[in-house]
């Protein structure tokens, strides 16, 4: 049955191309193809569909471990939203407020991006859309001071949820990563256990650099979850497979558009379906 050997290699090449173009990265792709080698050699794995199923199951196992829901079990429950420039932090906060609006009476946004042009105005519009209150200072203010005020306001006003928006920054900017650590320290000092969720926002169109982003933000802040945005594009977001496997950070949400409703909790099966679509 020697003809089968040649078919296998073509299929493996095809799978490799598929995985790499989905941004899983050559190392993760190679690991996956190796991991399924034994399983695909068995005689009941005799078609491309069967091989595809095997690899889907392998990826599912990795991503399932990353599917851990957020338990809103504190009041106020504090989210600190971080990530590199332009990934969708501010929009994601607006969407999260909408997502959690049921049974919630008061949501507060903290405009701790005091650097970028019109960052505060942008968050203000999202707050209005989502029915949230806004704590802001002037542009150029100390972001930790905004966070401090927001924590105290959340307590004083019995807010259910507090979302702290931060300025985009590259994980390689050491002083800006220190700024984030300081914001987290101040929040924790003023409210034990807060921020309860340190949410790292990643853009699905990002390539292998996402792993470095996740690693460095995690080292600095202990990221508790990831929001993967812009999955409504043609990018597949395969970078989360390596992130799940290597860093063990859960994926909590996916962003699929620019409107208030365009946020879903991460579901591994759905993600894999879309990946292989």
């Amino acid at each position: 049955f020697s003809g089968r050997g040649a078919i296998d290699q073509d299929l493996l090449d095809e799978l490799e191309e598929f995985l790499i173009t989905a941004d899983l990265g050559i190392r993760t792709a190679s690991r996956l193809l190796e991991a399924i080698q034994d399983r695909t050699k068995s005689k009941d794995c005799d078609s491309p569909e069967k091989v595809k199923e095997v690899i889907q199951r392998e990826i599912l196992e990795i991503l399932k471990a990353g599917e851990r829901p957020v338990h809103i079990d504190q009041k106020p429950f504090v989210f600190m939203v971080v990530g590199v420039n332009g990934v969708g932090k501010t929009a994601t906060i607006g969407k999260l407020a909408k997502y959690y609006q049921n049974g919630v009476e008061r949501i507060i946004f903290a405009a701790a991006d005091t650097f970028r042009a019109a960052a505060i105005e942008q968050l203000e519009i999202w707050a209005h859309r989502a029915g949230a209150q806004l704590i802001k200072h002037h542009r150029g203010a100390d972001p930790s001071a905004v966070a401090y005020d927001a924590v105290h306001a959340s307590r004083a006003r019995s807010a259910d949820l507090l979302f702290i928006d931060t300025a985009g920054r590259l994980h390689t900017q050491v002083n800006l990563m220190e700024e984030l650590k300081k914001i987290k320290r101040i929040v924790r000092r003023e409210m034990p256990q807060a921020p309860h969720e340190v949410l790292l926002v990643l853009d699905a169109t990002t390539g292998q650099n996402a792993i470095a982003q996740a690693r460095l933000f995690h080292e600095a802040l202990e990221v508790t979850g990831i929001a993967l945005t812009k999955l409504d594009g043609t990018a597949k977001g395969g970078i989360i497979v390596a992130i799940c496997q290597e860093l063990g950070i859960p994926i909590h949400y996916v962003g699929v558009g620019e409107h208030l409703d365009d946020l879903h909790p991460f579901n591994a099966e759905q993600f894999i379906q879309a990946l292989f679509a």
Partner: protein, 292 residues
Amino acid sequence: SLTDKLSLVFKKLRGHGKLTEQNIQEALREVRMALLEADVHFRVVKDFIESVRGRAVGEEVMASLTPAQQVVKIVHQELVTLMGSENRQIRLSGNPPVPLMFVGLHGCGKTTTVAKLARLLKGNGRVPYMVSADVYRPAAVEQLHTLASQIEVDFYEPHQGEEPLEICKKAQDNAVRRGCDTLLIDTAGRLHFDEILMDELREIKRVIPPKEILLVADAMTGQDAVNIAKSFNDQLGIDGVILTKMDGDARGGAALSIRAVTGSPIKFIGVGEKIEAIEAFHPDRMAARILG
């Protein structure tokens, strides 16, 4: 580094005497891996490796005392040739105000880049006029206006309910009236397959028309760079590319992918959030960065 990895490959091969084509295969596998890790698109890598294979199995490597360095040198040269171009300036000839339109995906840095270029042009003695045709993103217009005020460049104040095409036409009229010689059009982030939004850009292209359409792309973009670039180029025609966030540590393989599928030159790179943070694109530096 790639040179180290290749040195290892050739070290264990050299023990067997003269180098063979099979040996070079292994070296090219390392090169392929480096390019894929740098986010160059799978197919672009395939084509590129094929294009360097001829030189890689030639005398310059086979007869070399340092074959690892030779292979890297060849790959580097081929990358520079691929990404190099003479027309890396933005064309500013024609009746003033010369319109430049900036397009790209969400969050790639268009608005910031428009302001950076306006400042550069002003520094070169030109009189720019800025306009935001983004009616979707919250506070998009405020963002552009804040930046424009910062660099003391004139900008268009849109009226309530004005559509993007209308905004561009009125901005153009205003720029003429004020004697400005360059019109910089910031557009909303959009998906390349969003028919309605791409139509909007086609209309602006038809009516204005821009002297240059510049694709703004994020240096950390992965395999999707090929889809984005091809789609924008097929639907609009891209005259040049600006690669942003090059101050990060993304290898930037998207640069090669975009160049390969559009043939358009990368004209500038964004190297920071500050308004001064824009530089000319250097293909040799980009090649070294991609190879890691």
